[in-house]
């Protein structure tokens, strides 16, 4: 790859020079609407909706349930996976709902979310800061970042702790304060008002990553922020605060890397591959909060702007605040809009909301409410005149119009040949297009269709494999069956001439006798049950249910016992106890399961069963009766037992059934 050497870059930085990226546009920045006023606090909304997945990766596991009271900062989900990041209660209150809710996504579809009604106290949970982070291992600090729910706040929402725990050697750590999108001033205000905290967060990251150079990049249309950061970083020789020429999209990760270092992130690669890591200033602020105060990420700065709000401003919004609450606070004036429209994010890359109930999430940096005529009002697409103004504007040196032709014609192979997936969707091409073609929209559709086709292809492939495996299995079973028949036939043929007819008769008699004896035995055993009515069966089933429940309870009890005995010195003894407990639990479960199946098995188990399992045994005895009702009851009992077992989630999960049997 076109790699510029470290020394070269440093020399250039020392000389105060930067590289440039191709293309780019200069939209009217409109930042003055909000950049002059301090970040304000807003009143508590009536409800908060916290989507459980707000980052790139998987969602955490729910840690609360409906009806729970939560305190501010209490984790609502727990991380069970490296790519899972917890979300936290933004204020104290009551969880009223966990379920699908419209989410901050261009599709406006529903995702799993937790709804909290604030109690108005805004009471913090107990916080555990890690102020002496240098004294702790990096793992511990990284874990603290993960537990604080920190993911990139600039755009994509990549989990910060994963970036910070990479093993690649990092030469440049870049703190991105470029904020190149028009209208948005959230990072600008944050740097002006909280430069020191941003610096602290940077220090934490530097401690984890140990880069050779730290660069804080700020676009030159934010002189105040630049000044503030320079003052905050003046005591550190490692940190360079660099002013970047204003050009959209200089704040894009790849573009900023190119501007600062002249290096390009290889396709299919990550910035770390070329020795660069980038963090947003907002993320740094959140890191400082998490490490020095112990506060998880529960609020962020959001720019509420546009000419259709009376008081455009920056606000500290709790994660989960519905958009309409912020609009109300900023004085939304519907008469200024011909058609209601709210953009989440900036005018170049933001997406329109389909519902005012959409919550603010960790990556929400702006709400733009345009007056009519302020942004594009109508779709006025004309034919492409191949002027290639788009190619001149493209920061990735793509050929947008070729991509457009192929995307429009659904020629996805060709679109990919023109590197469709290298498009960063910055919107510069559509911004300059004289034919007003929504180019990026076409690319997005093409990209998602290609992804869908890939998925479908993979599914079809899997279906084919499964179908073929099944066919092979059926074939095998058929052959085996035939083989069995053949053998049986052969055996019969071999046997017949060997035994005399007298023997046969004797054998038959013996068989019949044995059968009768067996039946009688059964009958005596089941004397009672044979005469039982349906009602009795029901009662038995109820008893079985109760017992099963109890057994489940015992299971958890035994687990508790086990936990308690952890403290006991005699480890072996404890293990034995645990094993016995597990075996008991398992047996209970197996008994109830096998009840409808085999009478003999039940009687066998009878002998070894513990006294508390008697009731279940009764059921199994009775189950010999061939009535349908009773079977149903048994099934219910089984289901209950299963549920009980699932609730306690203990012994059967941990050890395999065979292991128990052996022990």
């Amino acid at each position: 790859m076109l790699s510029v050497s470290f020394d070269e870059i440093i020399a250039k930085l020392n000389a105060g020079k930067l590289y440039d990226f191709p293309g780019g546009v200069h939209p009217e920045d409109k930042k003055l609407l909000t950049s002059q006023a301090e970040i304000q606090t807003v009143s508590l909304p009536e409800k908060l909706i916290i989507p459980i997945r707000q980052h790139v990766g998987t969602e955490g596991r729910l840690a609360i349930s409906v009806g729970d009271r939560v305190k501010k900062g209490q984790p609502l989900t727990r991380s069970s996976h490296p790519f899972a990041i917890p979300v936290h209660a933004p204020t104290s209150g009551k969880v009223t709902e966990i379920g699908p809710h419209v989410t901050a996504h261009p599709s406006g579809l529903n995702e799993q979310a937790i709804t909290i009604i604030p109690d108005g106290h805004d009471e913090w949970t107990s916080l555990t800061p890690l102020s002496d982070y240098t004294a702790h291992s990096s793992e511990k600090v990284v874990e603290a970042l993960c537990d604080a729910g920190i993911s990139g706040m600039g755009g994509a929402g990549f989990p910060t702790h994963i970036k910070a725990s990479g093993t690649k050697k990092i030469e440049f750590m870049v703190i991105n304060g470029v904020e190149c999108e028009p209208y948005i001033t959230a990072d600008d205000r944050l740097m002006r008002e909280h430069a020191w905290q941003v610096r602290q967060g940077t220090d934490v990251l530097a401690h984890l990553i140990k880069p050779q150079v730290i660069i804080i990049a700020i676009e030159d249309n934010k002189p105040e922020a630049l000044k503030a950061m320079q003052i905050a970083c003046q005591d550190s020789a490692d940190i360079r605060v660099v002013s970047v020429p204003t050009k959209y999209p200089a704040g894009g990760e790849k573009q900023l890397i190119q501007v600062l270092t002249g290096r390009e992130v290889p396709r299919d690669g990550l910035p770390a591959d070329i020795g660069v890591l980038m963090f947003n200033v907002g993320t740094c602020y959140a890191i400082a909060d998490a490490i020095f105060q112990g506060k998880p990420l529960v609020e962020r700065v959001v720019t509420v702007t546009g000419e259709a709000v009376e008081k455009p401003c920056n606000v500290w919004a709790l994660i989960g605040t519905p958009v309409n609450h912020l609009l109300k606070e900023a004085g939304y004036n519907p008469t200024k809009q011909a058609q209601p429209q709210v953009v989440m994010g900036g005018p170049m890359m933001g997406f329109t909301l389909n519902d005012a109930d959409v919550p603010v999430v960790k990556i929400t940096n702006c709400l733009l409410v345009p007056a009519s005529g302020e942004l594009i009002d109508e779709d006025n697409e004309r034919p492409c005149i191949r002027c290639s103004a788009c190619a001149d504007a493209c920061p990735a040196s793509l050929l947008p119009q070729q991509l457009f032709w192929h995307a429009k014609a659904h020629e996805y192979d060709k679109a990919q040949e023109y590197n469709l997936f290298d498009c960063i969707e910055c919107g510069a091409c559509a911004y300059v297009c004289p034919s007003e073609i929504p180019l990026v929209h076409y690319y997005r559709q093409a990209k998602s269709s290609i992804r869908q086709q890939r998925d479908e292809k993979a599914r079809a492939e899997k279906a084919r494999e499964r179908f073929e495996a099944r066919k092979a299995r059926l074939e095998r079973e058929k052959i085996e069956r035939e083989e069995k028949h053949r053998r049986a036939k052969e055996a019969r043929e071999n046997k017949t001439p060997a035994g005399s007819s007298k023997d046969k008769v004797a054998a038959a008699l013996a068989r019949a006798k044995a059968k009768r004896a067996g039946k009688e035995e059964n009958n005596t055993e089941q004397d009672q049950s044979a005469t039982q009515t349906d009602k009795q069966a029901k009662v038995a089933a109820a008893v079985a249910r109760a017992k099963a429940k109890k057994a489940g309870g015992q299971q958890s009890d035994s687990k508790d016992n086990q936990d308690r005995s952890d403290n006991v010195a005699d480890e072996k003894k404890q293990q034995v106890a645990a094993a016995v407990a597990r075996a008991k639990a398992k047996k209970t479960q197996r008994d109830s399961k096998s009840a409808p199946d085999k009478n003999s098995a039940a009687s066998e188990e009878n002998s070894s069963a513990q006294s508390e399992n008697r009731a279940t045994d009764e059921v199994s005895t009775q189950s010999a009766e061939d009535s349908k009702k009773q079977r149903v009851a048994a099934a219910v009992a089984r289901a209950k037992a299963k549920k009980a077992q699932r609730d306690s989630k203990s012994a059967p999960d941990k050890s395999s059934p065979s292991g128990i049997a052996k022990r």
């Binding site: 419209v102 989410t103 996504h105 261009p106 599709s107 406006g108 579809l109 995702e111 309409n324 609009l327 109300k328 939304y332 519907p334 209601p340 709210v342 389909n354 519902d355 005012a356 109930d357 929209h441 997005r444 559709q445 998602s448 269709s449 869908q452 998925d455 479908e456 599914r459 079809a460 492939e461 899997k462 279906a463 084919r464 499964r466 179908f467 073929e468 495996a469 099944r470 066919k471 409808p596 079977r631 099934a635």
Partner: protein
């Protein structure tokens, strides 16, 4: 004399070309019938049998042997078009006798009603139903191809074909599929 030269020359040429052809036929020998594989690749692998063949591969073989290409409702127009391109024939509309193109669905077993008869398990062409005799069954949604074959065998009619609803990851930037709300405006009096 010239006649002999001509004969020898032609004979030599014939020999050379014969060798070249013979070599080529060994070197570039076509293994199996790639056409069937290519057709199979295009078919959606739902294994639904709506085409009248017991699975996608048998239908692929039938197409290779000259059957119509418009008998696959799950694949729909897109599949027909691809098949037409591959086979070099005219694309034609879907044969309604084999069913109509429908949105993607997966089977869903209402588990309370399931009696555990295993009939659907036997019907499923891709082993996407789990369960044992007299035990409740369930469908592995990810594996289900939506072929519909399990619905009929069910004696208690507890299997539904549920349309797959779009998620944020499967959404293809189609704003028409997005429910639209408004901004509730509270009149300040």
């Amino acid at each position: 004399m010239s006649l002999t030269v001509a004969l020898i020359a032609i004979g030599l040429l014939a020999l050379i070309f014969g060798l070249v052809l013979g070599y080529a036929s060994i070197k570039f020998k076509v293994e199996g019938d790639p056409l069937v594989d290519q057709i199979d690749e295009i078919l959606p692998q739902t294994q639904c049998g709506q085409c009248g063949y017991p699975g996608c591969r048998p239908y692929a073989e039938a197409i290779a042997n000259g059957d119509e290409i418009n008998k696959c409702p799950p694949g729909g127009e897109a599949t027909i078009k691809q098949l037409a391109d591959l086979m070099g024939v005219e694309a034609k509309p879907l044969d309604a006798a084999h069913g109509e193109e429908d949105e993607k669905k997966v089977a869903f077993i209402r588990e309370d009603e399931c009696i555990g008869c295993t009939k659907c398990i036997q019907a499923c062409p891709v082993d996407a139903i789990l369960g044992a005799a007299k035990h409740m069954h369930t469908v592995i949604t990810d594996e289900c191809t939506g072929c519909d074959l399990c619905v009929d065998p069910c004696p208690v009619d507890c299997i539904d074909m549920v349309p797959v609803s779009p998620t944020t990851t499967s959404w293809t930037w189609d704003f028409d599929k997005t429910p639209k709300g408004d901004i509730p405006i509270k009149m300040v009096s």
